[in-house]
């Protein structure tokens, strides 16, 4: 029982605070996909561990949660009234704080989902189906843009401007990139990241994941596109679609090269990314598996022990 609670607390602290700085180093040798999986697992583990800690705190002996469980089991305990009252107040404060955090995060998630649905609805009325690719919609607009959003059919959208700007190989690379996002459920991951960030913005791991994970997902999708179409086609497509060249022309704005795009181009120009080393990859996946499995297990054990009859 004590062991499970200690493991849960350790998981919350290690994943929520220490995992971020460790993962934030350039782990080139494991490959972006494996590192992205580590971040996702650290996020999920942090969220579950925090939820577990809260549940344990609410169910711990003098708190009303535990009293309720015990009362249900008809073995009303012998805690002193003072302790019970203090625990009740603490439980109330904790539950209120959790509710407040969730009230911040869940509506945000709801808004994103509704916004996405509205976008799809409009797409269905305005965009055309691509003649050759069964999963692509064409949006009639001169600004070159390509993107994807999950849907039952035709999840990739390409503007006519992008079709004009890209060569056949470049378009192939763009589609391969977007298909990789869709196949690996990157959209769901980004939604989860956003939710966890809204609920637990103090955690260093979550803060760093917010800054780092989106780029890692792009790099992972880039890797899939390079495998199919070569780095030249992808780099060409990136340059042509970078921050909408039209935008740079119309606004005289700073061209591409800020942040993620520069890193992606640099990686492509450095040649084919070196094959991920097997040991680094295995370690990354082992970490990811541990971060996903251990916190729920510790939480389950602790909660089961706490709600057992005394």
């Amino acid at each position: 029982m004590i062991g499970a609670v200690a493991a849960l607390l350790a998981a919350a602290v290690l994943l929520g605070c220490s995992a971020g700085p460790v993962l934030d180093r350039p782990w080139r040798s494991a490959g972006p996909g494996a590192v992205a999986a580590c971040w996702a697992a650290a996020l999920a583990g942090t969220a579950v561990a925090c939820a577990g800690v809260v549940a344990v705190a609410l169910l711990a002996p003098p708190a009303p949660g535990h009293g309720l469980v015990e009362w249900l089991r008809d073995c009303l305990p012998h805690h002193r009234h003072g302790a019970v009252a203090a625990a009740a107040a603490a439980s109330l404060a904790l539950a209120a704080a959790c509710a407040a955090r969730l009230r911040r995060g869940l509506p945000r998630l709801g808004r994103a989902v509704r916004h996405r649905r509205r976008h799809r609805e409009m797409l269905r009325l305005v965009a055309r189906e691509h003649g050759r690719h069964p999963d692509v919609l064409v949006l009639d607009h001169p600004v070159p843009v390509a993107y994807s959003l999950p849907a039952r059919e035709r999840s990739i959208v390409v503007s006519t401007g992008a079709q004009r700007a890209l060569t056949a190989d470049e378009l192939g690379a763009v589609l391969a990139h977007e298909r990789a996002h869709l196949r690996r459920r990157h959209h769901a991951l980004l939604l989860m990241l956003d939710l966890v960030h809204a609920v637990l913005p103090w955690s260093p791991t979550v803060r760093r994941a917010k800054a780092r994970l989106p780029l890692l997902l792009e790099l992972a999708a880039d890797e899939a596109a390079v495998r199919a179409w070569g780095s030249q086609a992808l780099a060409g497509a990136l340059r042509r679609l970078a921050a909408a060249p039209g935008a740079a022309h119309a606004l005289g704005a700073a061209g591409p090269g800020e942040g993620g795009l520069a890193e992606r181009l640099l990686r492509l120009e450095a040649g084919v990314p070196d094959r991920p080393r097997r040991a680094a990859r295995a370690a990354a996946w082992a970490f990811a598996a541990g971060a996903v499995v251990l916190p729920p297990a510790a939480a389950a054990v602790a909660i089961l022990k706490l709600s057992a009859p005394c």
Binding site: D140, P142, A146, Y147, H186, L190, L251
Partner: protein, 127 residues
């Protein structure tokens, strides 16, 4: 049925976007049936048109016993709204899509789209 409803919604919007003014369901039906292999029933078109009006895509104006329907926004307006979504990240909720290249600030994207639209619409003064 969902697929059929979807494609009919689309055909209705297209017919109304192409029409010179607001249409009655009867006129809309005649236009749609001109091109269709299998004629559509009046009730089907009326139901779907009404649904589009409820979604806010169509405006309904009374005309005698019936209604006339017209799109609330031009097709280009919808395309511009989609492009704005596609170019920017909404600040009050997370990413709704994964774009290939980077996002631009919403304000810049809006300026860009407005400039393009003026150029396309005017052909003369703005260009």
């Amino acid at each position: 049925m969902a697929g059929l409803g979807g494609s009919l919604e689309r055909s209705i919007m297209e017919a109304l976007w192409a029409a010179p003014g607001p249409l009655r369901v009867r006129e809309l039906l005649d236009g749609l049936n001109e091109k269709a292999a299998k004629p559509l029933a009046y009730n089907t078109v009326q139901t779907v048109t009404e649904r589009l009006a409820q979604k806010g895509m169509l405006r309904r104006t009374p005309d005698g016993q019936a209604f006339r329907y017209s799109p609330t926004q031009a097709r280009e307006e919808y395309a511009a709204r989609l492009m704005l979504d596609a170019l920017t990240d909404a600040p009050d909720h997370g990413a709704i899509l994964a774009r290939f290249a980077e996002s631009v600030p919403a304000e810049d994207a809006r300026h860009l789209l407005d400039a393009l639209r003026r150029r396309a619409a005017g052909g003369g003064p703005g260009a």
